[in-house]
Amino acid sequence: MNTSTLEVEEKPKTNAQRISGSEAVLRCLLEEGVDTIFGYPGGAIMPIYDELYKYMDKLNHILVRHEQGASHAAQGYARVTGKTGVCFATSGPGATNLITGIADAQIDSTPLVAITGQVASHLLGTDAFQETDVMGISMPVTKWNYQVTKAEEIPYAIARAFYIANSGRPGPVLIDITKDAQFSEFDFEYEKCTKIRSYHPFPVMESASVDAAAQLINEAKKPMLLVGHGVLISKAQSELLALAEKAGIPMASTLLGLSAVPNKHPQYVGMLGMHGNYAPNIKTNECDLLIAVGMRFDDRVTGDLNTYAKQAKVIHIEIDPAEVDKNVKSDVAIVCDAKAALIALEKKVEQNSHDEWLAEFRALDAIEFEKVGEADLHPTSGEVKMAEVIRIISEKTKGEAVIVTDVGQHQMIASRYYKFEDTRCNVTSGGLGTMGFALPAAMGAKLGRLDKQVIAVIGDGGFQMTIQELGTIFQSKIGVKVLILNNNFLGMVRQWQELFFDRRYSFTEMTNPDFQMISKGYGIPCNKVDKRAELETAIEVFLEHDGPYLLEVCVEKEGNVFPMIPTGESVSNIKLEA
């Protein structure tokens, strides 16, 4: 095999300028429209940071407190903007600390370009100080990675990186640049990448598939749309609504698809999956047609595949061919961008309504509300519940805030009860389920949407995994609102221990520090509430404060999240109570 580097095309330089590899990195980022970088300096990326000093007026670098924070912040930025998030780290531990965020971005289809410094090329493979095989480590969790050992490769590698990260099914790309490549000079010219012969991110829609899908929709008596993250990625929210409204189809959302459809839409029937709503889960096994758009039939959505929607025909609209028929066999697959497919499909479906079918969902909604929702949302006694906190925030923000959730019970409660009305407003770690995600991701989301109220909803466990990013919020004055729902437990694990492990609470109870003192230490105003009577006022202050603010709400210690589909069981077995 050829071990040479990228074949940089030799061509006469026209407007070439002789600059260092480090400066080239920054010039490339500017060419790609980058305005914000999240990173942490170190020995092997110092030449790039040295150049960054010159570019501070053009590139807003946010100094995080841990490289994991950089990759999550870049994810948050990417998720709310649709642009590619960028993060920097040095070699060795700096690079490996990025990996969690990179893996998270891979499974949640988030465009990310991570640039890591590497030891000088003559030291590669010698176990030099802070050398790790970041190429080998990142290979399974990146869409593409590449090691630059010559400055001349930088423009080509970065142009490819951005093209790959944010086309087709988006994902993370890692570019590792040796220190000598950062120092050496070359004639710089930049050309954006628009084509790679071995990479075809835009599969062409087949009209026969669209015809077949339209026919299935027109014949269906009980159709159901499953709205995934792909709808948001392809900016197909209005096209989805146009199809759903014309054909009168109920719409259910995956966790990552939340905020693609306004929750108050009369055809929106709630969230799918393990802790999703009762109606869409039950109806999955009663519908006659599933139309899955930009979603991958994750096991948290399907439960037991052997019993999943066996009665239904399946239409799968998906840009990634590897996801088609991977978990659920489709009757018709439209392999292309969701927006293109929905536009084509909308033209071919007939005007229809399924009012009786929709009413069946509403009947189940009423059962869910009676059994779970009422007590969750409007308790009158006992300890404060997570759901009532989310309800008040949802009402006060009119469902228009960006909600960045961590992982656990609070994530499911926020996803169930925040009534998203605006789009691209749900940022969460779905596939990897990364605790520690929310605080840094919220920083990135806020910097991506300065016009929006950005609220990080975090449990006490996840908060402490990246608590140091309060320092970043403090230093960079990022106006993110931090809501800690503190039950002094790893709540979701505890819930499983209660339900499936005989209440043996093995290492899930947490003795937490004084979060108020910590917040004050970072100069962030804060408040703590444990009484229902004080909750609403505290939330108003929290939301109205100009700048970052931390609100800790002490919630019931052993609250559970229902409905719930036990792992590996059928979606029909969704339980409303223990």
């Binding site: 095999m1 050829n2 071990t3 040479s4 190429m135 080998g136 290979m139 399974p140 869409k143 593409w144 790959i164 086309s167 628009t194 084509k195 790679i196 012969r197 071995s198 990479y199 075809h200 991110p201 835009f202 599969p203 062409v204 087949e206 990634d320 061919p321 590897a322 991977k326 392999v335």
Partner: protein, 184 residues
């Protein structure tokens, strides 16, 4: 049902791709029966021939994952009757076994093998064929004092009419990086 499949993967000639491909197999606990990497008739294009024993669903899934790799130009899966394939085996036997009459020479000739090298203390026999054939000769040589044995990965060519060069040209000429899924 598990059976043997031959996967043929056309790639750019780039370092690290082998690792990329094998990661996809190892995380699914699929063992590689045989692996061969070679150049093709098109400059800069390599072909990985990977033989695995698994189910059809799993092998199809792997091929789709291979195609997702940025530097992979195409990946195909074949059943036994869809490819021409061969393996090469080398056998080292002591020269002394040849001194006991022409029995071994007859064995070599009758098995479609040939003598590659004759040294003072050992002789190298070469045979190409399917695994059963090379294994058969192994069994026959073993009682005679076989010193060493090695068998290559499978090399395979599909029975389809597709030409690699034409396929690559089509990829290059595809407008705006669009490609119909049917082209795979």
């Amino acid at each position: 049902m598990e059976k043997q499949y031959t996967m043929s993967v056309l790639t750019e000639d780039k370092a690290g791709l082998l690792n990329n491909l094998t990661i996809i197999l190892t995380r699914r606990k699929i063992n590689i029966d045989s692996l061969n990497v070679s150049t093709t008739e098109v400059k800069g294009i390599s072909r990985f021939t990977i033989v695995v024993t698994t189910s059809k669903d799993k092998v199809d899934n792997c091929v789709k994952q291979f195609r997702k790799l940025i530097d992979v130009l195409g990946a195909f899966v074949y059943e036994e009757d869809e490819v021409y394939y061969q393996e090469l085996a080398l056998y080292k036997v002591p020269t002394s076994v040849f001194l006991n009459g022409n029995k071994i020479e007859t064995l070599v000739r009758n098995n479609g093998a040939r003598i590659l090298v004759i040294e003072a203390d050992h002789i190298i026999i070469e045979k190409t064929g399917h695994m059963e054939d090379t294994q058969d000769l192994y069994r026959k040589l073993e009682p005679l004092g076989l010193l060493e044995f090695v068998r290559s990965g499978r090399v395979a060519i599909s029975k389809s009419k597709r030409k690699t060069e034409a396929y690559i040209k089509e990829l290059e000429e595809t407008r705006s990086n669009e490609l119909s899924i049917k082209d795979y």
